[in-house]
Amino acid sequence: MCGIVGLHLREPELHPRLGELLAAMLGQLVERGPDSAGVAVYGDPRLTPPGRAAVSLLDTDAATVESALRGRIPDAVAVDAGPTTVVHAPVGVDALIEALPRATVIGTGEEVAVLKGTGHPHDLARAFGLAGVQGWQGVGHTRMATESAVTPQGAHPFSVGPGQCLVHNGSFANHATIRRELRAEGVSFDSDNDSEVGARFVAYHLARGADLDKALRLLCERFDGFYTLLVTTADAFAVVRDAIACKPALVAETPGWVAMASEYRALAVLPGVESARIFEPEPEEVYVWKR
């Protein structure tokens, strides 16, 4: 049970303000999820410089990572962002992960950095240095845990495929079965969180050639329960809600940006929102915006 925010910037002049805007949006939804928070940002030149593989990690720090990679991966750079560490290097993602010390991988991809942790979302945003982050797309999540543990691993976003990211508000009703099915297919899980099952399901189908629209339509067919989902990839921003659509969702669109949030107050902080086209996504309709 949670608050969701997402921002897809079309206007390059806004890219330097991504983190500042995302932090302001997130700050509006603290009451919806006071126990943990996370963000994923696409295209920050410091966390994920272009042309380099990036991996986001929990349970380690930059010094440990850099010393472990020294002599094994040339020119590897690790950056601490609160509880999260982001490492990037001019090699393939697999080679980089192979060389890493013990840690929990929470995001991979050339452009995406995933930062998450437990605690008050305001404190986390500060620890992440979110206000200084740049980029073209970001998502954020404040979490009120329902049935799974309050741990950094259990926080959203769930980024389990290259460049992919999923945040969820609601509660799946048949996730245990789908988890078993995916496990039988060789998929492994990091947490007992129901939303991770959704993220693994989407990643599973994207890896098998489905596009995002198709993967989310398959999710609607297979998942029972209540959900508003915001799913992003390295080139898309998508929103979908369950058939009953009880969990709130608002989309606002201007020529400069597309934004999504659980409540209007998170959109109210955006420049030019007064003239945005604002609508609520229809149930079981997949909305995709491409870069």
């Binding site: 659509a245 209007y264 604002i278 609520e280 149930p283």
Partner: protein, 224 residues
């Protein structure tokens, strides 16, 4: 008389509501910078006029009695929920559950209303200038819902005695909701409602929907 202005960028909703609930409040109020705040001007009990300049969050004008509240923007979930009397007008769109369980008064939404508009309504009148979402008038017990645009899926599911008028298309009717003939008395009440809502649609262009009353008694066919 000049309206009293409250800027929600400078003072919290709680202070505004306390002032509106005070024994002898000023008759006219203007609220600035709501920015999606929740429960703005809820629980009013007097003949006040409140103009809210911007978008509001959940439960604006909730349980309203006697007051006239206008939102010059969009309204979040449950605007005018359980309203008893008075009038609430939304110049923009309303989110889900607009006018939920409302007993009386008039709710006007000039734009669209999302899902569950008029859910369990108990006697209020709701006029929507645009379209409404799915499951609207679910279990609606009494009152009138007028929709100048289209209606989404499962309109009037398990409806009791509320009357529903739709000018545009209905995506699907819910369980036990059927189209019914529009008679003179319906045209008359529709004309009155449209006039109160300051709309110029022709009453003759609407269709009427209501309960087939087949769910009123548990039988083999409807026992779930």
């Amino acid at each position: 008389m000049e309206a009293l202005t409250v800027d929600l960028a400078a003072s919290p909703v709680r202070q505004l509501n306390q002032a509106l609930h005070a024994p002898d409040p000023a008759p006219r109020w203007r609220v600035l910078n709501p920015r999606g705040a929740h429960s703005v001007a809820c629980g009013l009990t007097r003949h006040l006029t409140v103009d809210i300049e911007g978008h509001v969050g959940y439960y604006c004008a909730g349980m309203n009695q006697l007051a006239t509240v206008t939102v010059h923007g969009n309204a979040g979930v449950g605007v005018a929920e359980n309203m008893m009397s008075g009038m609430v007008r939304v110049r923009g769109n309303a989110s889900q559950s607009a006018g939920a369980t409302a007993h009386g008064g008039l709710l006007v939404i000039e734009g669209d209303a999302a899902a569950r508009c008029g859910i369990s309504m108990k006697g209020a009148d709701i006029v929507v200038g645009g379209s409404i979402g799915h499951m609207s008038a679910f279990m609606a017990q009494a009152g009138r819902l007028v929709v100048c645009g289209d209606a989404g899926d499962a309109l009037g599911d398990s409806v009791y005695e509320a009357r529903i008028y739709v000018k545009g298309t209905v995506k699907s009717l819910g369980a036990d909701c059927v189209e019914k003939p529009v008679r003179d008395e319906h045209l008359t009440e529709l004309a009155e409602l449209l006039k109160l809502a300051e709309r110029d649609e022709d009453p003759a262009a609407f269709r009427r929907y209501g309960s087939a009353r087949r769910l009123y008694h548990f039988t083999v066919d409807n026992a779930y």
